[in-house]
Symmetry: C2
Subunit: 226 residues, 2 copies
């Protein structure tokens, strides 16, 4: 029982600041904190039940990641993504995720491919159950897994951050499109399995173009220019 306690404490070894950062990110992505909303340190500290220090450290990282803007002596506000950043984000994603697809195709082991196929299967099931939230989640997992398979940490961490931002901006539309994008995902995984870098890159590009087009449609009347 003393061991249980120690295990729990040991497993807890996620610093509070990281937990706060994760909570802050998801709160922003989920729309619990809206763009432009003011985030005072005291308020966040209270919301998360911690003192100001972990909150401050989390805020600095969140700023570096582009989720909040910090004005000196005035504090933090949730960042306001504009339609301009949509175009910009997809331009960068196109370059990075096609590279990820190519590298994944060149490096994927059979176990890697199997893990992708497993995600696809689960996605198909979830689609049949009309569980859109789960489909969207599996969608994310698939993308992140491909990044991981690419084996390039820089690429992975940068693209992951971009992906989070895309989710933030299109959290509404993404869930709807998820089932449609699944066919594109199958193409992508097939291409990766084939080991053909060019083909994988093309499949990723097709997918991104479709996602970008859908994003634009969805953005009409969404966040305006700002």
């Amino acid at each position: 029982m003393a061991e249980d306690l120690r295990d729990k404490l040991g497993a807890q070894h996620l610093p509070l600041r990281d937990q706060v950062l994760a909570a802050l990110r998801t709160a922003i992505i989920d729309g619990d904190y809206l763009p432009g909303e003011r985030l005072t340190e005291d308020r966040l500290a209270e919301d998360f039940g911690v003192s100001r220090n972990p909150v401050r450290e989390a805020l600095r990282v969140a700023e570096a990641e582009g989720f909040v803007v910090i004005l000196p002596r005035r504090g933090a506000v949730v960042a306001s993504p504009s339609s301009g950043t949509i175009t910009d984000m997809f331009a960068v994603r196109e370059r990075l995720e096609t590279l990820a697809a190519r590298l994944a195709a060149e490096r994927a082991t059979s176990a890697d491919v199997a893990s992708l196929r497993a995600l696809l299967d689960q996605g198909r099931e979830a689609t049949q159950r009309h569980d859109l939230a789960r489909v969207a989640e599996l969608n994310s997992m698939l993308h992140l897994r491909i990044l991981q398979i690419s084996g390039n940490p820089w690429l992975s961490s940068i693209a992951k951050s971009l992906y989070l931002h895309v989710q933030w901006v299109f959290r509404l539309g993404a869930a709807e499109r998820a089932p449609h994008s699944w066919a594109e995902h199958i193409q992508l995984v097939d291409a990766i399995e084939s080991g053909d870098g060019d083909r994988a890159e093309r499949a990723a590009l097709d997918h991104l173009d479709a996602a970008s087009a859908a994003a634009y449609e969805n953005a009409e009347g969404g966040y305006g220019a700002r």
Copy 2:
């Protein structure tokens, strides 16, 4: 005008944490803190003459940027770039900086081109004076200026961060190669001025390939795998 003054002073106020972060970054890039070296909060606080709080906040951001690694309950150490990360960084840079060159070519105003030409001129002069440090500095400024001209903030900030890391890893070799790379820079600016995106992208790629090759030569016997 009183308003202007207040605005300026307010905006000018650099929080200590930002100053610490900047100092930490340059200290790491310049090799004052060597890879693997332990960075205790007390020591940094003393080095920079501030309390531990700003240091901690700067460290979190430095971790997010990849300059330090923080081990829970054990503190921060300077990150150790391996030859693997060199390859990975250049793979990403190739995708991003070619995109930047294309966008710059498509969007550059005549004033933008003039500013690039001005940097080229200064670089030529500095080369004639054999002022390698200045050449390297202008080299950086040119790259960052192109990123700025691309008009894509995501691209700009991500590529800038990568560029800093490249400088860190190759701070020795970069200065030597700077004069040689100047010819490639001229090609690049010419291409941007022409407004031909494809050509700009090709010029950027040539430049990166040369830089990458030089980096590898220089890395022999440098930082090993780690």
